[in-house]
Symmetry: C2
Subunit: 248 residues, 2 copies
């Protein structure tokens, strides 16, 4: 049985791709556009193989790639489901804080402020905005009795309508983006620098102005690679570090 997104040689863009790659991209597209929403169960392997016109082994190679990227979850005897950002592993993927004792750190919310505003030209560029209205969310979070981070988020109003109706916002924003606005964050880039504390950060984190803070400037993206959120986090790295594991 032929499928529009697993089309044959008539599609010039896909004709050079191996079958397993075509099946992978077809399934990725279904997840990205919502035909297979987070949590949805996929047809079983024989069905998918028949649908895409490939063998069992080829279809499994495509599914293995999606699983490796954290897009689907497979369990023997249970089936294959579209992964949710809610899952613990996905939350930790974007929260890289560890304390000196070797334990993960999850800061708790201390305060938040939300306002609607017009994006700066740089923000319009970075968020690829067609319409310059954005939310500005500022959040202070703490750990072990003291404030450790000041985060300033920029969110397109077009992607997050009525964000103000959901306050106070939950501690974990990405699962909330997914469940409330169908905006799944699956990738992010952090540019890390050391910055002197400005007046607002100094007050929020109880340090002197000019004290060294770790700054993480983030662009968070969805499955289609579209920017969804800008975030500038300032961390007071006393007893806490931003951990990065590197490998060949």
């Amino acid at each position: 049985m032929s499928e529009t997104d697993a089309s044959g040689p008539e599609d010039a863009r896909l004709v050079a791709l191996p079958l397993y790659k075509r099946a992978e991209e077809a399934m990725r597209a279904r997840i990205a556009d919502g035909r297979w929403p987070p949590g949805a169960r996929l047809p079983n392997e024989p069905r998918l193989a028949e649908e895409f016109g490939v063998s069992h082994g080829t279809l499994r190679k495509a599914l293995a790639a999606l699983e490796a990227q954290g897009l689907v979850e497979r369990r023997p005897g249970r089936g294959t489901r579209v992964a949710r950002t809610t899952d613990e592993a996905a939350v930790y993927a974007f929260l890289r804080l560890w304390d000196t004792g070797g334990e993960r750190v999850i800061p708790e919310p201390l305060s938040e402020a939300l306002a609607e505003d017009t994006a700066t030209p740089a923000e319009v560029e970075e968020l690829a905005l067609a319409e310059p209205r954005v939310w500005r969310l500022t959040r202070c979070r703490g750990h072990a009795g003291r404030a450790v981070s000041l985060e300033r988020m920029v969110l397109p109003v077009a992607r997050f309508p009525e964000l103000g109706a959901h306050r106070p916002l939950p501690n974990s924003l990405y699962p909330f983006y997914e469940s409330a606005f169908r905006q799944s964050v699956v990738a992010a880039r952090d540019d890390l620098t050391a910055e002197p504390a400005d007046a607002e950060a100094a007050a929020a984190l109880s340090v002197a102005e000019g004290a060294p803070l770790l700054c993480a400037a983030r662009v968070a993206r969805n499955l289609s690679g579209e920017p969804v959120e800008l975030r500038r986090s300032l961390y007071l790295t006393a007893g806490i570090a931003y951990r990065v594991d590197l490998s060949k």
Copy 2:
């Protein structure tokens, strides 16, 4: 043909592992212990499959895992080789600096100092040293006409004998570790913090004492997971950032 490291069910520790995993671990062991040194060419797939007593497809699944981890390189028509740390991709894996223009930054050496010393108790612990003699290597590197990093490395003398005979050391240390001392770095963990510049860093980087610097505290490990190098890099993040790509 049977192999000691691809043994049959008589090996209780491995009996539960699937065949592709056993083949993968057997090959990983050969790379780790030097039977297959960096750059060495592996037997072709049919030979390996016969040697491990598995089918073509199963053997390929094991090789694919090693390739994904950057341990081997495979090229159609050419064969499979053990990857070298020298390869460009491997060097960049541990150098995460980008400038604001979106270009990679590779700092050039400005000065270096090397001394033999006794490791602190913390260093003995982190490097799992049986013998406390270490090299202390301090290096200052620059980019675009100004000093941008001050790096302090700690290397076990037992792993790096006669390190002093190789001065001046090359800019890329990890390929040098591999070629000169058979010490391949395949993984590292950076703990990032913001620190005020001490007197030495302030002088080396031409900033005021107390100025914010990005500090990367690294433990670099070989294929067996053994710590090979401790490194504390201080970066002047003016026009430069430490970039991290995160994904589910």
